[in-house]
Every structure is written in structure tokens, then in C-alpha cells.
Amino acid sequence: MVATTAEQPFTVAMIPVSSWGFAIRVWLAIVLALFVSFWLQLESPTTAALTIFVLAEPTRGQAWDKAGFRLLATVIGVTASIAITGLFAQTRELILAAFAVWLGICVFAAKLLDGYRAYAAVLSGYTVGFIATQQIDNPLHVFESGMARGAGIAVGIVSIALVNTLIFAPDDRPRLVAHLAALHRRVREYAGAALRREPGSSTTFLSLLQEIVALRPAIASVALESSSGSVTSAAARSAAVALVAELQAARTKPDPEGEASEWAARDLLRRDEEVRQDLVALRSARWPLRIWRAPLHRSYRMAAESGIRAAAWFAIASTFYICAGWPATSVSLSFVALIAALGATTPNPRAFTAIALIGTPIATVLTGILEFIILDGADAFPLLAIALAPFAIGSALLMTSKNLLWSSLGRVNLPFTLLILSPSNPQTYNPQAFLNTSLFIAVAASLLLALQILIPPVSGDKRRGWLLAAARSDLQQRVRPNGEAREEAAFRDASRIEQFLAAGGAQDGRALAELLSCFDQMAMLRLCDAKLMQFTDGPLAPLAGEARAAIAKLDPASLRAIAHKFRVQAPQKDSIEADVAACLVLTSDIVERGSGVDSQRKAA
């Protein structure tokens, strides 16, 4: 037995050294990206510096993953810009309308994805804002502007990749291994408590489920980290899916004196062994025995509603700017697209806009100090590098804060500082341009916030309602996509519960209980289906057919009767027939419990 104690991280000025390392890496990468862009005389060095901010992720694998998606999304965005501008070159209003539709499509796609894939989807959307909208009066420059943006992004990616590699950005793999092992331990503890029938374990179950599903993006990122990354990623994914299966098995509490309890305990042990094997494969970088996918529940309705809202916000904002008739509002409009699109990747878009609005004056003041007091006409690169240090490092340190408000402010502050300063060679010190850009960002954020109050984003209540309806209809229809294992289907259901909790589901006790009951029933019904498949052609085939019919009707009484018939046919205790009987008894218990939850809901 090895005793472990929680390791206290080494801190400097009460901030962990890892955060300092991250902040210094961000600053160095920004300096390198700016230097290379100036040296290559690129048109948009700011894009290179902003790319560093976007790719400022704590581990190397995450930065690589996001970099790939950023490049891909930029290519899609630039292509869309050229297409939109080419189609409606003569009519500004149609360009804006087409862009609103494109933004809606991108937000729709983002809502169906997660992690960096969602980011890539919204980036394809707002890239059009930065290219087609900013060049709306100058359509011939769209291609050049797209190329300049692409070059800036490429320089940024290479810079952060170099800095991350040479200054030893931590790898995701050890962290992922430790996290999965800890989760395995906690799932075992949960299973032990459930077997002893200790009360009050529902919150533990939910937090474990949430943590496992939340690992999904990190598991995808680890694939790019090293030459054995794809193996690690496959093993970690299988381990996560197996953990959900074990957690589900632990939740199925049979009657301790009942006949199914022995079978349930065996099933739990088998699941535990699967997780253990996957973890061993993960540690030794070997392919796991089974390769499972980790599918995500996709709510098309919610995605469509979010997309329509984003398109509406942009359309109304552009109408407002056209009516206002201010000069150079295309820049402000592109910020509306940026904030609306990035907000779509957060759980609460309106709060994101509010933070952008709060962050703008802070960033303006800080940039003003940097540009007109510290630099004040300086034209040497080393001075720029040194002057940027406190701002870049400070914002990056804020980003690592555990407090959500501080970290969001850090996330907003760094890009706005870079945008307002817009480093160039030679640097221009123009107070008017400084004030204009600050004003444009502030106007964009306030306009968008006003629009989001007018047309609010999809509410948590609605999202929860749709998720619950999807769970109910899944339980009724039980259509499984071809070739999907039941463990994968259980992971999809788990991701639905996670989305439900993210939409504030913890407060909605009754709906949560129903969703969990659907989760249990689905898992058991799938298991029964799989077990009954073994009897398709044999003497027990008609009985299996009866069982399937009873499952389709969700009828506990006939399930029990059929289980009894199976048990009579069983030659010994651990035969397939006895397994099926135990499984059917458990299913009837869970279906009965589920209908109890259902009748409570109807009574309410």
C-alpha cells in the first residue's frame, strides 16, 4: 500500500509556478509572433499576436488541437467570404443578409459540437465578419485580406508551437491518466457505497458523470501530443466510456435478497475489470482491447434556435449601423459578430457579452497607459516586447485563476488590448484611431447586450425541456444507430445528462429524476436486447420474442413472468438463461421504479 498526500504546488507571490510558466510562455510567444510578422513584413501582425492568445491553452496537446481547428476554420471562413462577396458584390445589404445567415449556420454547427470543434465552427462564422464585412466597401481586397489573415495565423501557430515545445509546456497525458485513475477509484467507492445501500449518493453519481463526460475534449486533444498520441487517445476514450458503463452498473441496485443481486454484482465486477484493462493500456501506451467512440447527444432543435437568434442579432445590429450612417461602422459590426459567435460556445451568451462590455473600458485604460504613457512614440522592438510583458503576463495569470469572473476578465482583456494597440511596423501612435477602436468595441458590446435582452438566448428551462423530451422519445422508440455499442449509447445518454446539468438542471429535481430514470431504463433495456439476441435461433426463440414484445410495451409484470420461465429452463445457476432471467427481473424493477417517477410527474 502506498500512502499519498495531496501535493502542495510551489508558489511564487501566492500564484502556482505552473501559472507563471503559462503566462511567460504566452508573453514569449506573442513577442516571437510579432517579431516574425514584422520581419516578414506581414500586413496583419495583430492577427499573429491574437492567434497566440487564442491558442493560449495550458497544455501542448490542447494548443496543437486548437491550432489545427483554427487553421481549418480560417480556410473555410475565407472561402465563404470570397463566395459571399463574389455573389453579392454590388449590393451591400445582401452581403450583410448572407453573412447573417452564414453566422446562423455556423452557430448551429457549433451547438452540435463541443470543445475546439465548436470553436472552429464559430471561427468560420466570424472570419467572414473580419474579412468580408470589414472590406464591404472594398470587395477587391477580400482575397488579399484573407491571405494576410491566413499568414498571420500560420506565424502565430508556429510561434506558440515552438515556444511550447522549447519551454516545456506540460503534456496532457500524465494529467489525463491521473484524472481517469482518480475517477476510477471514486467510481469504485461509489459502487461500494451503493452495494452497502448507503443513502444520498445521487449527487456523487451526477458529479462523477459530469467529470467523465467533461474529459471528452481533453481526450481528443491528447491525440496530437506525441507519436503515440492517437493510441493514448483511443485508450483514454475507451476508459471513459467503460467508466460510464461501470457507473451505470453501480447505479442498478437490485434487491439484496433477490435473485438478480448476484448477477448484478458479477456485472459490476466485469465492468470494473474493463476499466482496469483500459487504464493499463493507457499507462503503457498500447491499443485498448475494444475501441469505443464517445458520441455526444446532439439537440438539433436547440442548435437551430441558437443559430436563428445569432443571425437575428447580427441582422438587427447591421440594420442599426446602416440607419445610424456612422463612418467605419463595418469594424464595429465585425466585433458584434465576434462577440455573438464566441458567446455561442459558452453556456451563457448574455453573461459573456456583459463581461466583454465590462472588460472593454478596463482594456481601453490599460492600453492607453501602454500606448501613450509607457511606449509613447517608441519605435524599437525590444521596448515593445518589454512593455507588453506586464500586460500579457498579467492577463494570462488572470486567465489561470479559479475564479470564473477573474479568468473571464483575463480572457477578454488580452485580446482587446492587442486589438486596440494593433502593433504594426512602424507603430503608429494615433489617439484618434485608439479612441475609435475602443469606442467600436464598446458600442458593439453594448448593442449586442441590448439585442440579447430584446431577443434573449435560449433559456435553460427550454433547453432542459428539449433534453427531457429527447430522452423520453428515445425510451419509447429505442432506435440505435447502426454499429453503435450499448456502452457508446450509454455515453451518449450520459452526455445528455451533462448538458441537462449545464442548463441548470440540478435545481429541477423532478425532471432530473425522470432523466436519470430514463438513463437507467435505456441501459437495462439495451442490455436485455443484447442478451436476448443470443436466443434468436434455438428452442427458446419464441420466449425471447415474447420478452422483446414485453420490453417494447415496458410491461414489468410480463417481464417477471418471462424471467421465471427462463429460470425454469436454466440448466445451472450461471448459464445464459439464468443471466437473462436476472437481467429481466432487474429491468422490470427499474421500469417499475421509472413508472413511479412518471406517475409522480403526472400527479404534479
Binding site: 515545445t165 516545456f168 507519436s227 503515440s228 501506451a285
Partner: protein, 67 residues
Amino acid sequence: MAHAFSELIIGGVLLAPFVTYLVMTLVVIIVLRPLLHVVGFAKMFSHPSIAELSLCVAILGLLVLLF
């Protein structure tokens, strides 16, 4: 003897030869990755990430030199 670099032309847009080399390096690395995993490349070095970066630079240099 001077090395002649040819530009890649896609739809009338000239691409710098270096971009072609970078893309080729990426393709080579993607093809090599499973092989590196089988050989246990990551286990040979104390800092596998730097070793892999060096490998990329070496491949890029070779491509520029040979083609």
C-alpha cells in the same frame, strides 16, 4: 550549383516554395507517426516533444536540400 525552387501555382495564385515544403513535411510526419509509435520513439528520449520537433526540422531541411 544553385538550387532552383519552383513555385506552386493554384488557380493563378503563386505559393511560396517553403509552404509546399511545410505541407510535405506535415504529410511525412503524419505517415511516420504510427511507425514512430511502433518503434517506441517517445520512450527513447527524456524530452520526446523536443525530439519530435527536431525530427520535423530535419525532415524539412532534407526536403529543401533534396527536392
